[in-house]
């Protein structure tokens, strides 16, 4: 498949995440970079503990309390998500980036009716006054943030210079102190401007509301004094409802939208289901509800963290079909996390294979499945049972490395039968294979010995590709 040339919606660049533990820092993610395009699915595949869930949780801003982002950036909508504070993450989380978790039972509240769980977000975010004021003051808020950023940078630099042993240390410091003062005054100005803007916005929104109210009441009055006041009753009720909806999301509106979304995710009799509790739903149905909740705010990006691992084959197929369908209808970008390569083949446009906190191979799904290059990808593919053969499975020997002490060199070298001496000493860079296909293994170095992929996978790929008469791909 050709790479999609449309816009990039999310860019993750050299992201590094660690967890503070009593034994030391656990390096969970060590420099992950990828791009997500609009309307495509990126699958992240790896064993448990490879850092795939941690990467996605960092994007959602829900790292555990002891998690630290050491370096790197996540650019979404011109903003670096690693620098956004909790207060402002609320505007992104759920609204722009939705997430579905592995276990549908533990991600739903067992003592709350399904309907309330779906509408909760809509009602909480339903104050239109607030959003209008926010929109009005948005520009000056961004100004304030950039000013704050500059101030932060200067402060950081001062710290660095203070610790250094440079000869012109004093000189530099005085210059920086001056800069900092300037920056602080700018911030003060911007802050005042922002508060003014908010005030203005509040007045403007209130005036708008009063005008709207007057207009609607005039209309109602006209109807009441009209030729047939009795017949106009329902019309008047509609008008009143509309007026309230101008102010906030009403319960009725939320109900209507919830029913619509429940229909969209394939729940029959949504009116009846609306008042039921999670225990009255089967596993697949529960996962549909979780998807419905994620969809209420119409996010642009949907992160699915092993959404089908707890389900059996038939239900899994249904949920995968549903996610694909929703992706097509809503032009969603999906990050799909799983350890099952079979599931990925159906879903993904691009696949990133992760091992020990790093992406070891990334490419389109055809490239990964039909011409894998990294020994770890080979190992993953060959450890899957095949419907057509009874050859002995090639299990990956050993266990993943302890991320308290990440190994020097290639992290997979210890378990790799093709490992060379350099694998234990130096980390391999990403070698380019095609425009979309990269792999981090020394085997791709021009000086490396020629190594063929294991016969088991080669046979399998020959069977898959050959059966359809598509030899040219090899």
């Amino acid at each position: 498949m050709m790479p999609k040339t449309n816009e990039t919606i999310l860019t993750v660049d050299k992201l590094t995440v660690s967890f503070k533990t009593t034994q030391g820092m656990v390096r969970a993610v060590r420099g992950v970079s990828f791009e997500l395009h609009r309307g495509e699915t990126l699958a992240i595949v790896g064993e448990s503990g490879s850092g795939k869930s941690v990467s996605s949780r960092t994007i959602m801003g829900i790292l555990a309390g002891n998690g630290v982002i050491d370096s790197g950036s996540i650019i979404y909508g011109g903003q670096d998500l690693t620098k956004v504070d909790e207060e402002h993450y609320h505007e992104l989380r759920g609204n722009k980036i939705g997430m579905i978790f592995q276990d549908p039972m533990s991600s739903l509240n067992p003592i709350m009716r399904i309907g309330r769980q779906i509408t909760e977000g809509m009602l909480l975010n339903g104050d239109h006054f607030k959003t209008r004021v926010k929109d009005y003051a948005n520009e000056s808020k961004n100004d304030l943030y950039s000013a704050l950023d500059i101030q932060d940078n200067i402060e950081r630099e001062i710290k660095v210079v203070k610790d250094s042993e440079d000869a012109d240390k004093v000189e530099k410091l005085s210059q920086l102190a001056k800069d900092l003062l300037d920056a602080k005054t700018v911030v003060k100005q911007k802050k005042a401007a922002y508060h003014l803007k908010v005030k203005e916005g509040k007045v403007k929104v209130k005036n708008d509301w009063l005008a709207e109210k007057e207009r609607v009441y005039a209309e109602i009055k006209a109807l009441q004094e009209g030729p047939d006041p009795k017949a106009a009753k329902s019309q008047i009720a509609d008008l009143k409802e509309k007026l309230i909806r101008y102010k906030k999301v009403t319960k009725k509106e939320a109900y209507e939208r919830a029913i619509k979304i429940m229909k969209e995710v394939g729940i029959s009799e949504p009116e009846k289901r609306y008042t039921q509790y999670p225990f009255q739903f089967s596993g697949g149905m529960r996962q549909r509800i979780v998807i419905a909740i994620a969809l209420t705010a119409s996010p642009e990006i949907l992160i699915c963290d092993e959404p089908t691992t707890a389900l059996d084959v038939t239900i899994q197929a249904q949920i995968l079909e549903l996610i694909n369908e929703l992706k097509r209808l809503r032009n969603l970008s999906v990050i799909f996390i799983t350890h099952d390569l079979g599931v990925v083949a159906n879903m993904a446009d691009n696949i990133a294979v992760m091992y020990a906190g790093k992406i070891v191979e990334i490419g389109s799904s055809e490239e990964i499945f039909y011409s894998p290059r990294h020994p770890y990808t080979w190992a993953l593919l060959s450890s899957m049972p095949d419907l057509d053969s009874k050859d002995r499975l090639r299990a990956i020997p050993g266990t993943p490395p302890n991320m308290l002490f990440p190994p020097a060199g290639d992290a997979f070298a210890e378990r790799n039968e093709f490992a060379m001496k350099i694998d234990f000493e130096k980390e391999p860079p990403m070698f380019k294979i095609s425009d979309t296909h990269y792999a981090a293994t020394w085997l791709l170095h021009p000086n490396a010995p020629k190594v063929e992929m294991p016969k088991l996978i080669k046979d399998r790929i020959d069977r898959m590709v050959g059966a359809k008469g598509l030899e040219e791909h090899r």
Binding site: D312, R392, A395
Partner: protein, 388 residues
């Protein structure tokens, strides 16, 4: 298959039923988890049992190893009856009592009518005649009930007896974390079966534990550690070692790889494969993942809502899936092949639309040697045409 005739099965399950009853009176709810399932397992083979969650495959396994007492049906292991339910017999007694009562009542009514227009003398004779008839009926009933009760007592004895035979059957559980006691060391966990079997000598136990640890690919020094010190795959190996320590002939593996990562899955499957080839252990393998089952099993039984809907060798099942549920299950298997996946069409199974069992209930038919399918006569004709 020919082997069926000249070989005795290691495990025979006959009309097994397992019902779970909850509540009383109008709240009474009977869940028919397993409803009339029969199959044989032969020595050295791997018998796969597949179906969606809640179809009764785990209950079948647990009933065979006597974690539950069967409601009805019989289980034979190595030629001996190890488990039997008697609900059917009790029902038969009830039915007999009821039918005898109605018969007697009918006779009495007949006698009364006849006595109305009859002299006293003749009446006496007739009465005697009818009384003997009734006595005969009662005698017959009593005889029948006695026989049934004897059989029930027999079966009860089977349920209560704790035979050495059962040691030859062991089970591996699904969740390697939940199924190991966190407060016992690996050695204690593995040796528990040996101790219960009567081995008291500690050096003997240590020797045997180290032996099985090596068989499953662990080291003797692991014996003194606790389960939490191991990864998921290693814990499942401990579970397998615990089953192996008493040298079983038959193992029930209840979804042993569902909770594991793909790469670890392969290790465990390879291990089970080795055990089966080297020690000749017969395995009943329960799973919902068809690609694993196909890879590992010789014969596969497909279960749907407590019923066995299809039973065939694994190649035959994948070549000739007959029952619509089997087909829908096969169409849902994801494969690591993007081009195939993009065009895959899933078949949805809706029992009410496919089957019409109102006047012709289905039975398990042998449509081809070794290939059984649950169907009624009309469907059998239809399936026969589609056979390859």
């Amino acid at each position: 298959m020919n082997r069926r005739e000249n070989e005795k099965p290691i495990l025979e399950v006959k009309n097994l039923k397992q019902y779970f009853v909850s509540g009383h009176g109008k709240n009474k709810l009977v869940v028919k988890a397993v409803d009339d399932v029969s199959f044989n397992i032969y020595k050295g083979e791997v018998f796969g049992l597949v179906g969606e969650s809640g179809c009764g495959k785990t209950t079948t396994g647990r009933t065979i190893i006597k974690l539950y007492n069967p409601t009805d049906g019989e289980i034979y292991f190595l030629g001996e009856r190890i488990g039997a339910g008697f609900k059917g017999l009790k029902d038969a007694i009830k039915h007999m009592r009821k039918s005898t009562r109605t018969q007697i009542n009918d006779l009495k009514l007949e006698l009364k009518n006849k006595l109305l227009n009859m002299s006293e003398e003749d009446g006496k004779l007739l009465k005697q005649e009818y009384n003997t008839k009734i006595d005969e009926l009662i005698k017959k009933k009593e005889q029948f009930i006695l026989e049934q009760k004897e059989e029930i007592a027999n079966r009860k004895e089977v349920v209560e007896q704790d035979s050495d035979l059962m040691r030859k059957m062991q089970m591996i559980f699904q969740d390697p974390i939940e199924s190991l006691d966190p407060r016992m060391t690996v050695k204690e966990i593995i040796a528990e079966g040996l101790r219960i079997a009567g081995t008291r000598n500690d050096s003997e136990i240590t020797k045997r534990v180290n032996e099985v640890l090596e068989t499953v690919g662990l080291l003797p020094e692991h014996a003194s550690r606790y389960p939490h010190e191991f990864s998921g795959g290693q814990r499942q190996r401990i579970g397998i070692a615990r089953a192996l320590v008493v040298s079983p002939e038959f193992m029930i593996a209840d979804e042993p790889v569902s909770a594991l990562d793909v790469s670890i899955q392969a290790q465990v499957i390879n291990l089970l494969n080795d055990l089966r080839q080297e020690m000749g252990i017969t395995i009943m393998f329960i799973a919902h993942d068809l690609s694993v089952i196909k890879y590992f099993s010789d014969r596969i039984g497909v279960m749907y809502y407590g019923n066995l809907v299809e039973l065939a060798t694994s190649d035959e099942l994948f070549l000739n899936p007959l029952h619509p549920y089997t087909r829908s299950l096969l169409s849902a298997v994801p494969l690591p092949d993007p081009r195939y996946e993009k065009t895959r069409k899933r078949i949805v199974y809706r029992p009410k639309e496919v089957h019409n069992y109102a006047n012709n209930p289905p039975k398990l038919h042998e449509i081809k040697p070794g290939h059984f399918v649950l169907a009624n006569d009309e469907e059998i004709e239809k399936y026969k045409k589609t056979l390859k």
